[in-house]
Symmetry: C2
Subunit: 474 residues, 2 copies
């Protein structure tokens, strides 16, 4: 029977584009190797029509389908379960840029176009596609949409949801919805695209999108700050927003433990600041002013913040190369943790005004569980998004630390965020990893509405089953 399914799917996408056995392995596990599964086969359609045919076949034959983009999910959203009955539907071959319209400031791309490719295509046309996340070399636009990717430029440009005007989607039964409209205003009926953005492939398969493009800023300025407390970081952010408005493009917090870790990981780098500080902030602004004026504006705002005692020390990037070095420190924290092994990774958000309380209270709670854990705390605090990732002490093994404290710490952090009206997943989504946690923090009404939508669009629960939505108790 399985063989018959695979043969039928080969008839749709071609002999070489259904992978099994060892060829399928890279699609059955996430890139970090944390989540594993087993697929009936990996199907790689070439275009929307083939996606439609594959979906129709799977629908008729009751085969679960796991859509997969760059497979860079951190929470297992893009890998199949262990049953070996699902089809992994790879969108990688849908990789054309279909159109670019600089007057309308839009770009229509297939779902499998990588984020880097999308950014580079825009750049070549003299415009900006502003999404910026760590995995941009391999993640794909379809995955960015399905997970509503965030990253480091959300303060100014918004999340992926804010960067899209239209979608093309294949529904669970194979019907194609063509909603590829490039309109900034469109109130003609229900805005269906929002059903498919951030729902992690559980309602439909995104095959193409119309993305918004932006003017390239005339100048970009970058500074690295040393501060005493998260309260100071928040005060600086408020001051910068008052002085520089929406020019503030990124505002990234880094804890002292995170700084120590990443500098030991980047063996040939040193801190941009002479001394150590309890907290650091990386700030970036984009401006219509020329470089000199824009830097002067940022400096003026930062001197005010220093006069008020909110900033202890500051270094301005002298040029783009130095700015890239500042950014490297921020961006390598993730890999530094992976290499160090034994961290409990979280991705919460709270209202900005609650960030200091969240960090203070959570630090106390985590210390009461694991007194010597290193507090790798960083994130996009201009959006209220904190990665609070306690790391094993040097003398404790990764396995012991995670086995002993992992679940407890993660649960403490989730509940601290929820208690402050926050989210247990700011930008990483739910996948399988946080599905049950979602059930414990969201209201029954919220879960019931979500399931009602799921049943309406995917009545047989064939699309990415087991992801996102927790089982509802009776």
């Amino acid at each position: 029977m399985s063989q018959q399914h695979l043969d039928s799917l080969r008839a749709i996408v071609g002999e070489t584009h259904v992978l099994c056995g060892t060829d399928a392995l890279p699609f059955e596990r996430d890139y970090r190797g944390v989540y594993f599964g087993k697929a009936l086969g990996v199907v790689r359609p070439a275009n929307t029509l083939e996606v439609s045919s594959v979906m129709a076949y799977c629908h008729t034959n009751n085969l679960p389908v796991v859509p997969q983009g760059g497979n860079t999910s951190l929470l297992g959203g893009s890998v199949p379960d262990g049953m070996g009955t699902s089809i992994v539907l790879s969108l990688a071959r849908l990789n054309r840029v279909r159109a670019l319209d600089t007057v309308n400031a839009t770009m229509t791309v297939d779902a499998g176009v990588t984020l880097n490719q999308a950014r580079a295509t825009a750049e070549q046309a003299g415009v900006l596609f502003p999404l910026r996340i760590g995995s941009e070399g391999s993640c794909q636009i379809g995955g960015n949409l399905s997970t509503n990717a965030g990253g480091t430029a959300v303060v100014r440009y918004g999340n992926m949801r804010d960067l899209v005007l239209g979608l093309e989607v294949v529904l669970p039964d194979g019907r194609i919805w063509n909603g590829l409209r490039g309109l900034r205003k469109d109130n003609a009926g229900y805005d269906l695209k929002h059903l498919f953005i951030g729902t992690e492939g559980t309602l439909g398969v995104i095959t193409a999108a119309v993305l918004k493009l932006f003017p390239v800023a005339r100048s970009v300025s970058c500074a690295f700050l040393g501060l005493q407390t998260p309260e100071d970081a928040l005060a600086v952010f408020s001051m910068l927003r008052r002085h520089l408005g929406t020019d503030v493009t990124a505002f990234e917090l880094i804890s002292s433990d995170a700084m120590t870790l990443v500098l030991s990981h980047l063996t040939n780098r040193s801190s941009p600041l002479a001394d150590t500080h309890p907290w650091y902030v990386l700030v970036e602004t984009s401006s219509n002013a020329d470089q000199t004026d824009a830097e002067a504006q940022l400096l003026a705002a930062l001197s005010d913040a220093m006069d008020l005692g909110h900033v202890t020390d500051a270094a301005m990037a002298a040029n783009a190369r130095q700015a890239a070095e500042f950014w490297l420190i921020r961006e390598e924290i993730s890999d530094a943790q992976t290499k160090a092994r034994g961290s409990v990774r979280c991705d919460i958000s709270v209202p900005l005004s609650s960030i200091p309380e969240f960090i203070r209270e959570t630090t106390i709670k985590v210390r009461s569980i694991a007194p010597e854990a290193r507090m790798i705390v960083y994130g996009h605090i201009g959006d209220g998004n904190v990665h609070f990732n306690p790391l094993r002490p040097n003398h404790t093994s990764a396995d012991t630390f995670v086995a002993t404290h992992g679940n407890h710490i993660a649960s403490v952090i989730d509940h601290a965020a929820s208690a402050l009206d926050g989210s247990i997943s700011a930008e990483h989504g739910i996948g399988v990893a946080k599905r049950d946690a979602l059930g414990s923090v969201r209201s029954r009404e919220e879960l019931e509405i979500s399931w009602a939508i799921k049943r309406a669009l995917d009545p047989f629960n064939l699309l990415n089953p087991g992801k996102v939505l927790p089982t509802l108790s009776k």
Copy 2:
């Protein structure tokens, strides 16, 4: 039976808050007097719990419910049908500002807070709530959300959908969904708020919202331009976006016929420009630079446009009072049409790059139907949104013009927009007026998905029945 229902509803909201007979009249027709209906009664709950009880009662007793905010809809979305069996649910008494958090830059307001009240509350706190539409004195936040209001500042700040972080919604059966989260990043599960934004009260009743606030711009600059063609207007818009980036806050096109009409309506005003021109543009920028620098930046960009021949004449507003006079011309076009009587009002959008073609082709088509019609064409062309409103010639009566040509012209305009991948309703929504037209321009898949969502949330079709969704042919 009707009396029994009204008594039961009075028991929920209080004796004086169920209106019938002449008291109900203002709620049974829209403010322009174009759409009429008849309600069983008008129910005015005081808070979310009362809304919930009213909805539960109506659900149990199979009573249709028409949610109503400021009743400023242009397409009949907020008035009941003529059956006399519906409850009009007025949200006007839910009018508290619940919270304002300047650090998180959010404001939590009841649905019945007027847009003016929301704007003024933000202003008093030194921040900006940027939605700007003509009816801001009477329209309410709940209505702004239900219709995804647009207006004149969308180029910079987006539509109402982009200005909200969280919602509180009462479902058709009375359950309350509390999604009042003030988070800039939240990917924990389906983002349900988008189900209720822009669906015109057909899926739930919005009772409160967390709105996004913005820094107040340091300076606002305003200019009035005379141009030869829509192509020129588009070229100027592109140049301004390149020079001034997202500082461009409004970019409004006005046709020569619209200018003539509004100036004769505003008897004591004259054009900001000495000569007449085929087209005009009102442009506004908001900047972090001081007034002098910001005006210099705008002027520099405009001189470049003049050098290239895209702008024939330009006047900069010397101060805020003069800017308000410029804006008055733009804002009074709507009332000037109402007073002139006999216009076919449309609200289409197309990709920006198609605006010149749309205006050119549609003008030809309308002239072939009504050669002497005045072409009242204006709108937010920075968003691709054009109000293309042919007006009767002076010597034809309003009734004759509309009766003879109204439907034909409206249909020609809708189809011209659709043929260019545009929308038949950029910002006004669908209501009852454009419901059947929606059926003729949207794909079967799109309508099927919409109905699937409607059935999932409102299985008995009790919430604003007959609005938005066209009947699906078998």
